[in-house]
């Protein structure tokens, strides 16, 4: 058994506090109470997938409220994208408005949050312009694509090409549902097809295809696609399969906060029967490696 629950809450918070100190951050630590059976958190954790849905009047307030819970779970940094309310097929005006919300939240996060720019490839030129505004000339470090269009469509090509030039990973929602997909909702297989056309780009399969057993298989042979584990139930065995089939360096933790809890998604990693070195890669090592060039280019520590 590779994971050990016999660590107290104090140890969890100490681990989280050490991570914060290591990252040069101050954090408001909650009251330390001993609770039973908590998992260790000695790893540095970056959450690669979250949204601004939370109480608060402004994007910054919403993010600050979410970070209070991230603190409790020992999460050092979060990646956020899309504003509110959500739009499945946003017009250029709409995705610019939502990206402004994310920019505002990131700006006030004192380095705790990174932003990915939300685009709609059906508006190809407007998306390219927005990519330049938010990533090339702005502080954002990746691209988020959701359900506006199937991701193997040709309209994605110029966007992925430009993202690769900027060293920005492209995180694409992928989900295959036996109950039926949304009209523009992509599958992991479609992302693999896109990735095969762009070997220099890094593609992130958000939700690992949703139905993760076929999803992991669909991206297995396409080395520039990494699996991000967020958004589904905390089903046991997901991370074990992803590590077995893809290698630990192609698996990334994200939660899809605030619709999902940090707890249920972190559990997928903390509870997985994989080596601690694999957990370290999944919890932050891989996303930090992927983002290192663009963070360095922007002077973000």
């Amino acid at each position: 058994m590779s994971s050990d629950c016999r660590i107290t809450r104090r140890a969890v918070l100490v681990g989280a506090a050490q991570a914060a100190v290591a990252a040069g951050m101050s954090r408001a630590e909650g009251p330390v109470r001993r609770q039973p059976g908590l998992t260790r958190a000695q790893h540095v954790v970056w959450d690669a997938h979250g949204h601004l849905s939370a109480p608060g009047d402004t994007p910054a307030e919403k993010l600050a409220n979410l970070l209070k819970f991230a603190d409790r779970m020992g999460i050092e940094r979060v990646i956020v994208f899309m504003g509110y309310p959500w739009s499945q097929d946003p017009s250029p005006d709409e995705f610019r408005r939502q990206n402004d919300q994310v920019l505002e939240a990131v700006e006030h996060s004192r380095g705790r949050a990174l932003g990915f720019v939300y685009l709609n490839p059906q508006h190809t030129q407007a998306s390219l312009d927005e990519l330049d505004r938010c990533v090339a000339k702005g502080p954002m470090v990746g691209v988020k694509l959701w359900v506006a269009v199937h991701c193997h469509e040709a309209c994605l090509d110029p966007i992925v090409r430009r993202a690769a030039e900027l060293k920005a990973p492209v995180l694409q929602h992928t989900w295959s549902k036996i109950t039926g997909n949304l009209p523009g909702e992509s599958t992991a297989a479609e992302l693999a097809a896109l990735a095969a056309r762009h070997p220099a780009a890094t593609l992130i399969a958000a939700h690992s295809g949703g139905d993760w057993e076929p999803g992991i298989r669909a991206i297995r042979s396409t080395a520039n696609v990494v699996a991000e584990i967020c958004g589904g139930d905390p089903a046991a065995g997901m991370v074990e399969m992803a590590v077995r089939e893809l290698g630990a360096e192609r698996v990334i933790y994200g939660s899809d906060f605030s619709g999902r809890s940090f707890a249920s998604q972190l559990a997928k990693v903390y509870g997985a029967d994989v080596p601690e070195e694999a957990k370290a890669l999944i919890l932050s090592g891989n996303i930090r490696r992927i983002l290192a060039p663009i963070l360095a280019a922007k002077g973000i520590a």
Binding site: C5, T179, G232, D233, A235, A263, L266
Partner: protein, 256 residues
């Protein structure tokens, strides 16, 4: 000390799970501080010989460290002679309760058989644990698509069964808002946290949900046990709230 009201033995039909052997399941429960687990059997979902399922469940629980696993046998009121399964759970195996899977067993809650089963369980003083779902319906096997249980008829049934103790498993999330409120108001119904989602989920639920109706449940080993454990850390709960959720509420259900 945690009482986990939602644990399953044997094999999930569609996937091997890392902790689906009794030894590993027990090891992980103990490592995470679970001192009592109310256990059903995955075999109860699709097997027709529920007598055999429940005999194995009782035996597996008996072999576990004393008091750790409390068996909840499966009863399917559409099977011939289901009352004998219920009698064995109660009289032969001394189970504290039974586990129902109406969606896998193919009946609706407005079926008169279900009302009869509730009446019998109440008469025998058995806790009824009813699983609203077992897995996300979006990712089910194409040949085994099982919708969530429609709990609509439940409040009216509970109104006539003041002595019945009902625990709804995997229900928070699948059920929301008014559906939960009407169940809480109708009788002795408790929920558990395995499928409760959202950042700070327990804390925000308790803003509008009675503390004495909330139980610790993990849906382990289908879900990772750590998910429910870490939810206790994510919300800023008082020591009293943690105690109520993790053991006192479950203990008072068994004490009734």
């Amino acid at each position: 000390m945690i009482t986990d009201v939602n644990v399953n033995l044997s094999r999930w039909p569609f996937r091997r799970l890392p902790c689906d052997e009794p030894a590993r399941l027990v090891e992980r429960l103990e490592a995470c501080g679970v001192t009592q687990a109310w256990a059903g059997s995955f075999d109860g979902l699709l097997h027709k010989d529920l007598g055999g399922v429940n005999a194995r469940l009782a035996e597996d629980c008996r072999k576990a460290p004393a008091g750790l696993l409390r068996p909840f046998g499966a009863v399917n009121p559409t099977l011939p002679d289901w009352r004998e399964d219920l009698r064995r759970c109660h009289e032969d195996y001394h189970m504290p309760g039974i586990r129902l899977h109406p969606n896998y067993h193919g009946y609706r809650l407005d079926d008169p058989l279900f009302a009869e089963l509730l009446a019998e369980a109440e008469r025998r003083g058995l806790v009824v644990a009813l699983a609203v779902r077992m897995e996300d319906p979006r990712m089910q096997h194409p040949l085994t698509r099982v919708p969530d249980v429609d709990t609509g008829p439940l409040p009216a049934l509970l109104a006539n069964r003041p002595g019945l103790r009902l625990v709804l498993l995997n229900a928070l999330g699948p059920l929301r808002g008014a559906a939960i409120t009407s169940l809480i108001g109708a009788g002795q119904v408790c929920f558990e946290i395995s499928t409760l989602e959202g950042v700070g989920g327990i804390g925000s639920l308790l803003d509008r949900f009675p503390l004495d109706r909330l139980l610790f449940g993990s849906h382990f080993p289908y879900f990772l046990l750590e998910s429910a454990i870490l939810k206790l850390q994510e919300s800023d709960l008082s020591a009293e709230q943690v105690k109520a959720i993790t053991r006192e509420n479950a203990a008072s259900i068994l004490a009734k």
